[in-house]
Amino acid sequence: MTYMKTLLAGSLALTLGAATAEAQETKVIGVSIPAATHGWAGGMNYHAQEAVARLEKVYPDLQFVLATASDPGKQVNDIEDMMATRNINALVVLPFESEPLTAPVQAVAEAGAWVTVVDRGLSVEGIEDLYVAGDNPGFGRVSGEYMASKMPDGGKIVVLRGIPTTIDNQRVEGFEAGIEGSGIEILGMEHGNWNRDDSFNVMQDFLSKYPQIDAVWASDDDMAVGVLAAIEASGRDDIQFVLGGAGMKEMIKRVMDNDSMIPADVTYPPSMIATAIELTAIAMTSTAPVSGTFTIGSVLVTPENAEQYYFPDSPF
């Protein structure tokens, strides 16, 4: 046993020694993301791990450090540790919250490292070299336009909103712009907090409150699960369809199978973290310019194109 341990320790020391010797040529990319505390974040973690595993093979002179944080404070610590102990050349960060992460990420940028910010922007502009963003207003607009096309004669809908945040406000504003002039009337909006249980309760109450609901904009696939369960339990048949969002694999599957209650979905892909890591790797290894803003559009998923958005191995 002791022999094995010595052997292990020895080989470990060797590898570490080798790593420091190589440090001159090797570049280190730090990836800091929120932990998998809900479905979308789970998918994002999966795609981050996939991307790191793949890129380590493609670029032998790149090293990756992946850290997941369960709160903003932990994420700040992670980033400080990466700077202090791993000497990172680039940082890919999906900030837990904009405000608390701005100063630490700014410090990384000032130390000369490349900074890629994903999805949630920092509260000071111009810190990052590259910003890979989802399109929240576009997400709402695509959803709204789909609703309008699906209900040409107008109709009555209810809307479930997410956790009260800028993201949610932008989506709802986009949606309202998308349905403008279509004759669609929003009966009510309540926060389902991107949570199945909360949306189940809210939908039950919507069903008690309104005798006629033509369609539901659940605005998120997790919330759509709760909404569908509430509708199913009530036995009501006035609701023609439910539109979710994000691209959860179970919902994409239902779109693929031509489920009439889930005729479509709108993507807000958690795999955007992979785009960010990939572009950062290009920035580190080539002279191709990748700085700027990269906006990932929200795409309407219909039975015709659903297959290319279906990732059966992802947890989301």
Binding site: G39, G42, N201, Q204, L207, D222, A229, S234
Partner: protein
Amino acid sequence: MAMDTTTPASRRSLPSMSVLGPIIALVALVVIGALLNPNFLGAANITNVLARSAFIGIIAVGTTFVITAGGLDLSVGSMAAFIAGLMILVMNAALPTLGVGVPIILLGMATALAAGLIAGLINGFLITTLGIEAFIVTLGTMGIYRSLVTWLADGGTLSLDFGLRTFYRPVYFDGILGISWPIIVFALVVIGGEILMSRSRFGRHCAATGSNEHVAHYSNVNVNRTRLFTYAMLGMLVGVATIMYVPRLGSASASTGVLWELEAIAAVIIGGTVLKGGFGRVWGTVIGVLILSMIDNILNLTDLVSPYLNGAIQGVIIVLAVILQREAKAKG
């Protein structure tokens, strides 16, 4: 003995505000709800509210005993999520051998009860035998169970097999004579809890332990065993709540049962149980649970206030309920 002679006299005149307060609040809410929306008192809405109160309610009955005995349990929400995840995994794993049917449901239920009992015993053991502060122990296990369910679900969502879910679904949505199962189970737990609290030796031991540990010890109450029992019982009840929860959506994830522990504690305190221990009231807890879920329901049914303020209104009502009770105590 002096207490014994005065209590019946004061009872005959008028129950104190600490008893009336929560009841008045509940009645006021029902009246407001009915005035604001005619559907509020409809059978469907009442069933919805009672059925969704059942999870927190069943757990809160257990919490009442823990708090009465001078303890605290912050881990129940995470524990419920973990047990739900475990139950789903076990049932999915047993599906090829057992097939869809009653045995597999019973297996799932047994898993939930056993896991709850073990989890409760672990909390109780750490708190009583090792003598660690209940707040710290359950804060620790809260983090552990929450991480475990995230890990089990690989960061995503654990879902019950579709066929199995269809078979299991009636446990939440069906019932006897139009009363759904969660409501029936909730009622049974409350009746059992009320009898245990006010009519049994165990209930008196809980109150004695919570009001003064040393006196209770010298009065031949096994303080540690009483506390251990309260945590084990709470664990079991979390298992029962999970049995009712899983058939509803057939899934569990890291966002399952978030803040249930605080809702349960709030319900217990609104109902008149003393947070420091020594006195517990199971029926009061039921009123507390109903008040909390009715506020949510009324706010959803009306457009009276911005949905951003739902939490604030709940907070105000919690504080008001406790102030009512304190004033009554100060006067009486």
